[in-house]
């Protein structure tokens, strides 16, 4: 079978598709209004799954800080407010990133440019997500340590140093791999496929070689 016969087969099949499912303008209008809402809802659903975890953490932070950090007096309220603000800032970052990455914009770009843009944004999002996660972890850990030594900071310095070392060990052995695994699991496959499409479109070196053959 040559390529011309393949074209014929394609035409035959697509003609058949047209006969089976041509839509009139009112059907198209109905799809448009229903599906527009659905795609935005799906986008928000993805965000809310992640946001839910962070929102659930807010009352936990409040309870822990207010009940357990009595030694710092009224400062515990400022402290809990600060931690909640950090979590909320993380949520704002998540929401903005989701909208930028997954909302359908610049769709009329040539495929290669669109892929480049997607890859760039997704990589940046994953990087920022990880960095913010690391910062949150250290802030919580260090605040916990400082509060526990609140009454005798200088006397507790050796214990604080050990605590920081434990925090670092935990970070490299558990937290960092965990966040990386989580991001890879959620977005890694998508990112890999975007990169492979992009590489395929940009295979300049192999084309040069082929032309020289």
């Amino acid at each position: 079978m040559d390529i011309e016969r393949l074209k014929g087969a394609w035409k035959s099949y697509t003609d058949d598709l047209r006969e089976q499912g041509s839509k009139n303008t009112s059907e198209l209008r109905e799809i448009l209004s229903r599906k527009s809402e659905q795609s935005l809802r799906r986008l928000r659903k993805n965000f809310f799954i992640e946001a839910g975890i962070n929102l659930a953490a807010i009352p936990i932070v409040l309870v822990i800080v207010i009940n357990q950090f009595a030694q710092v007096g009224d400062h515990r309220y400022y402290l809990s407010g600060f931690l909640v603000l950090l979590l909320l800032a993380f949520l704002v970052f998540l929401y903005n990133s989701y909208m930028k990455i997954f909302r359908y914009e610049q769709l009329d770009m040539p495929l290669e440019k669109k892929l480049e843009e997607q890859v760039k944004r997704l990589k940046l999002f994953m990087k920022n997500y990880a960095v913010i996660g690391y910062i949150l972890y250290f802030v919580v850990f260090v605040v916990g340590l400082l509060v526990s030594a609140y009454n005798n900071l200088t006397g507790e310095l050796p214990r604080l140093a050990v605590g920081i070392l434990i925090a670092l060990a935990l970070f490299f052995s558990v937290i960092r791999p965990l966040i990386r695994y989580y991001l890879k699991r959620l977005y890694g496959k998508h990112l890999d496929s975007l990169i492979s499409y992009l590489n395929e479109l940009q295979e300049k070196s192999s084309i040069t070689l082929e032309r020289n053959d």
């Binding site: 047209r18 499912g21 799809i31 599906k35 795609s39 769709l107 009329d108 495929l111 290669e112």
Partner: protein, 171 residues
């Protein structure tokens, strides 16, 4: 009022060119439900991108760009796509076959076995080629150079010829 007028204009346009969307969906998704889902998603994206269409390129070129961006770069579940490069499954069990009897023939079977062996980028290129698009049009849609398009098409042709030989030998 203006938006309503724009929407009516858009719907009329889509109604005239809806085959294009259906073809893209058929190239990437193997069953009718997934094809319909892809059709709807492309339609929504075309509407979202419509304000940016300034008529600088042909309407079909613009539509192909949006449609291919949706199926290739979108964050969609890829598991329902027409599989490729799988030697461990019986290909004929997974073919996208037309449901009408009058188009069910050997050539169409071969067409789908061919599609299955192509990468997503190759599918886009060969579909545009089969739609009689010029190399310049394909280059504009895909963001490739004209030379790259030519090389890619030749490579796909070779790949298909190899496949036909395999099929003729009963693989």
């Amino acid at each position: 009022m203006e938006e309503r007028r724009q929407k009516e204009k858009f719907l009329k346009l889509i109604s005239e060119h809806q085959d294009l969307i259906r073809k893209v969906a058929a190239m990437y998704y193997k069953n009718k439900a997934d094809q319909e889902d892809a059709f709807q998603e492309i339609l929504v994206n075309l509407w979202k991108a419509y304000p940016t269409f300034r008529g600088e390129s042909k309407i079909t070129t613009w539509m192909y760009r949006v449609a291919l961006n949706t199926v290739i770069s979108g964050f969609r579940k890829a598991s329902n796509r027409v599989h490729r490069n799988r030697s461990d499954v019986n290909i004929s069990d997974e073919l996208v076959k037309p449901e009408r009897e009058n188009v069910s023939n050997e050539d169409i079977d071969v067409l789908y076995q061919s599609i299955e062996r192509l990468t997503d980028i190759e599918k886009a290129v060969i579909m545009l080629y089969m739609e009689e698009k010029t190399y310049d049009d394909i280059a504009e849609i895909m963001g490739m150079t004209r030379t790259n398009v030519g090389v890619k098409i030749n490579r796909i042709k070779k790949k298909l010829q190899k496949l036909y030989k395999e099929l003729a030998n009963g693989y």
